[in-house]
Symmetry: C2
Subunit: 321 residues, 2 copies
């Protein structure tokens, strides 16, 4: 197997010089650099992709920064990955769990050209820190951000949530409880959406305490037990996502209740769970957002890129309302 | 640029103490720790992780090689990530989609010490290629492999599947259909398990054609439609995983059938879906496998490691059989 020593021997240089060329450090004589690259290519030196990327100045690897896994982030990452693969790019995922250092490692890899670009699903460092890296390569985000240097593919959750609430109203629901997730920046928009909705239809008197930080099937079951325990019950529950709606529905069924017979249930996201349990939900095109993020990156890398999709939330009526 | 010496000077401590605080080692006076963190924040100091890793000879980053996402691989990766974080390691995920080059990039990062170790959930290159990298750092796999150099945390799916079949037999089921996934190396073991089981109880005459390549909720729905269309129906269906079992159950319900009233349904994995739909299933402790994989890596890196878990499949009886 070809190694760096062999390349150094053939080029009549030190292994350090070869290594410098491979890692794109400066301070290597241009003629030497070309000669070494030629040898690397001739010997088909193992990191083919490195040799290839040296030639075109790209690694064709895009970093994905995520905090942790959720159903939706997984769906985003899968779609981003598929789209990247289709255009000859690979994906490296950094699961930061909110660790600043781990995020900086990815940013530093962008700086040292080990990554061509970064997509930031979640961030821990201040935006100004992240922005300071945009001079090294494209950074695109999924988070709600208005920035000159970091394009965002975020969608307007005020609009999405309002779509769901107006649908519930049209179906005759007036006593609506809200279950929010508190991760991310979309929750305040959804809270604002409900407040405006309740004002518009003068529903303040019918209000229930909001739930917060509810994300999982188990959280949905907890909401179901709360609902069962009330004398004065909501007639509909708007959920933070389909996981919560699914747990809510199945726990109600275990106790002999049904939806929409006893209470209307509205999910959010339109994941597989909504399909599985025939949940009315809001379609959230995270996969198309992911494609848009990739197209924006492609364009910023100076490559021909497809046009970005126009994205809209969409109400999917099934059988839980 | 701020460096560790400057922080040490301002805090009136040694650089070792600053380094301990940065790396979250214990044995630092709490008041000192807070003071140092305050200085770090004030100076907006970003520790140079490269310098840090050079000193201790480790990057504290472990690469995870996966083909694509499945419910189970996601659960494995999450657990591995949690375990790694708990011990001060971070995770970098390579989604290879079966691309040899992308896999080699991870292996080359192990060689160049950018990664301390690799966990291989899935591989595309020949094992001998992957084995040639074990001299650069620990490589552990989730795949069925017996190797001197690459430890595996695989479990015996012959045993797991037999557990499910014996349970179905004990419940009185005799006409069992099998739905297999064909990804990975576990399916042949499950097929062998059913053959031996059918031999043992002389059930050959009751056999139904096997399903293969069935993985998703939608695949389960397809199996349901097949079942509905038969004159001569199986009385139980052993599924490749809980996704298939869930799709099967809900599609049967849509058509007015029930489980176990009309047919027994057995899942596999014991994921959230099995909980959600009260599916009888086989608990597959992928999260404990992931912890074991991490503990083995820790040990191979010469770090103190917890003892590995003894792992067993377990039958979880719920309401679908």
């Amino acid at each position: 197997m070809t190694n760096i020593q062999e390349i150094a021997r053939l080029a009549g240089v030190s292994t350090t010089t070869v290594s410098r060329v491979i890692n794109q450090h400066p301070y290597v004589n241009e003629a030497k650099r070309k000669e070494i690259l030629k040898i690397i290519e001739r010997l088909d030196y193992v990191p083919n992709s490195n040799a290839k990327s040296l030639k075109e100045g790209m690694t064709r690897i895009i970093g994905v920064l995520t905090g942790t896994y959720t159903t939706l982030s997984t769906s985003f990452i899968q779609a981003f990955n598929t789209s990247a693969n289709k255009h000859g790019f690979n994906v490296m995922l950094f699961i930061t769990n909110g660790d600043r250092q781990q995020e900086l490692i990815a940013l530093e890899m962008l700086r040292s050209k080990q990554l061509d670009a970064l997509i930031c699903l979640f961030r821990t460092n201040e935006w100004k820190v992240i922005e300071s890296y945009t001079k090294y390569g494209p950074i695109v985000t999924w988070q709600r951000l208005v920035s000159d240097t970091i394009p965002s593919v975020f969608m307007d959750h005020y609009k999405g949530y309002t779509l769901g609430l107006e649908y519930l109203y049209a179906k005759g629901y007036r006593r609506i409880a809200n279950v929010f997730s508190s991760k991310g920046l979309n929750t305040p928009e959804r809270v604002r959406s409900y407040h405006d909705f309740a004002d518009k239809y003068q529903l303040k008197a019918n209000s229930f305490p909001d739930f917060h930080d509810k994300l999982t099937i188990y959280d949905g079951e907890e909401v179901a037990r709360w609902w069962i325990g009330q004398n004065d019950r909501p007639d509909a529950i708007a959920c933070s996502n389909d996981n919560v709606a699914a747990g809510l529905l199945t726990e109600l069924r275990r106790a002999g209740f049904s939806a929409p017979g006893d209470v209307g249930i509205l999910g959010f996201d339109n994941t597989e769970l909504a399909h599985l349990l025939d949940l009315t939900t809001i379609h959230y095109p995270a996969n198309k957002q992911a494609e848009n993020a990739f197209y924006i990156i492609l364009d910023m890398l100076g490559q021909p890129a497809p046009e970005v999709h126009t994205l809209e939330f969409e109400l999917i009526e099934r059988k839980s309302t």
